[in-house]
Symmetry: C2
Subunit: 221 residues, 2 copies
DNA sequence: ACTTTTAGACTGACCAGTCAGATCAAAGGG
DNA sequence: CCCTTTGATCTGACTGGTCAGTCTAAAAGT
């Protein structure tokens, strides 16, 4: 009955057709992301209503559906968008360290720090991520898997380089170790934010660093 | 207008008044737990309906409300019940190791293994746990905090003993390290179950053990 | 001119929780 | 043994409310 639904669908897909989205639109989408990530982190996806999201973003409900095809799509794009930021941040930290002449282990350490900073800056996003990642049967399983893969790849490539450079043992299981490292940082950061917000980033970083560098089981000074 | 509602409320609270719950009841409650944990792990709490839980448990909806005061209470008791099993399992692993003459670091290692085995046996429970733990604003926040505390305490006490015995450095931040270790095991185990189910427990255990014993950053053989 | 946003009424589906009555299992009576 | 009673347990149709998504006509914005 109108052309609007088509334009709505196209834009909502986030498939980013050639046409520029327009600056007005981009800012509305960002406001919706910001509102949604906080609400969903607090209450969960199903318990968060579209009306709440619109309210918090200071936008009419219709606007949500003009910008996103559905609540589900809004959520998927939110996850993709946010996790891309994290992956980028990790990669940049590693590259900068290596470029500055640091070792690969230094790069891992820098990534831990970058991860902590990122989570400290937007804990809500990581809350969503861990809350959804291991669910089976979800509509957005594909989105999550791909997003996870991108983050893990960054860590894995640094681990591989480190092994190649002889800094780490060749016996290392790259894939499992990367997943464990990421998990360690994630959970430690979220626990820090939730249960010990008074601790400094440095404290948390030091504790994780010690774990990474083998000063836990090895009784180092 | 009857005595039933009273009895229902009392029982549903799980406050465990003096009266024995009766064997029929206990088995129904277990069936409901089993059904709920799987469904909620798959779909999330809000997205899982009470009808679904009842169906899967092979029970009428009314029975759910006869046994639990509300959907929320069912969930809380489920979490408490399951996490108590985990804490117990960790503690037993540590005690057995020490009793058998192992070091405290050996005990940590045994706890990692126990954690992996536990999660392998009922991944759904841990999915719930991580999905809810860091949410703010939730009704069952208190339940989760207490349950988390009990599990962490077990790890912390072993770490403390290890430091006292000189096996670990006194500089260790007990609380942060315990949280990081628990997180590492949790995430690694869930990732293993979800994304690399073909790997053996031994592989995963070895990767984590290596991390714990400092053979990652220290380039050991 | 064209895109984007507004305000909010509306619908159709879905769902937590209720309640009056059915069923069970155990204990006693005959 | 079979019958009855009693309280505990279970049943499922029903209610009242909630929510995703639709739609419209008009107003901004660019």
């Amino acid at each position: 009955m109108s052309v609007l639904p088509v334009s709505r669908g196209g834009a909502g897909d986030g498939t980013a057709a050639g046409a520029a989205p327009g600056p007005r639109r981009a800012s509305t989408r960002r406001r919706l992301f910001d509102a949604a990530v906080v609400l969903i982190a607090e209450q969960g996806f199903s318990a968060t209503t579209v009306d709440e999201i619109a309210d918090r973003a200071g936008v009419a409900k219709g606007t949500v559906y003009y910008n996103f095809a559905s609540k589900n799509v809004l959520y998927e794009e939110l996850l993709r968008d946010g996790m891309d930021l994290l992956s980028g941040s990790l990669r940049r930290a590693a590259e900068a360290t290596v470029a500055a002449g640091g070792t690969r282990v230094d790069a891992l350490d820098a990534m831990i720090r970058a991860g902590l900073d990122f989570i400290a800056g937007s804990p809500a996003l990581m809350q969503l991520y861990v809350a959804e990642l291991w669910r089976t049967n979800r509509t957005w399983r594909a989105t999550l898997t791909s997003v996870r893969g991108r983050a893990l790849t960054v860590v894995e490539s640094v681990l591989r380089d480190a092994v190649a450079a002889g800094e780490l043992s060749g016996e290392l299981d790259i894939s499992l170790t990367a997943s464990a490292l990421l998990g360690m940082v994630l959970v430690a950061a979220l626990d820090w934010q939730s249960f010990q917000p008074d601790r400094s980033v440095e404290d948390v970083h030091a504790a994780l660093s010690r774990l990474l560098q083998g000063r836990v089981g090895a009784a180092g000074g």
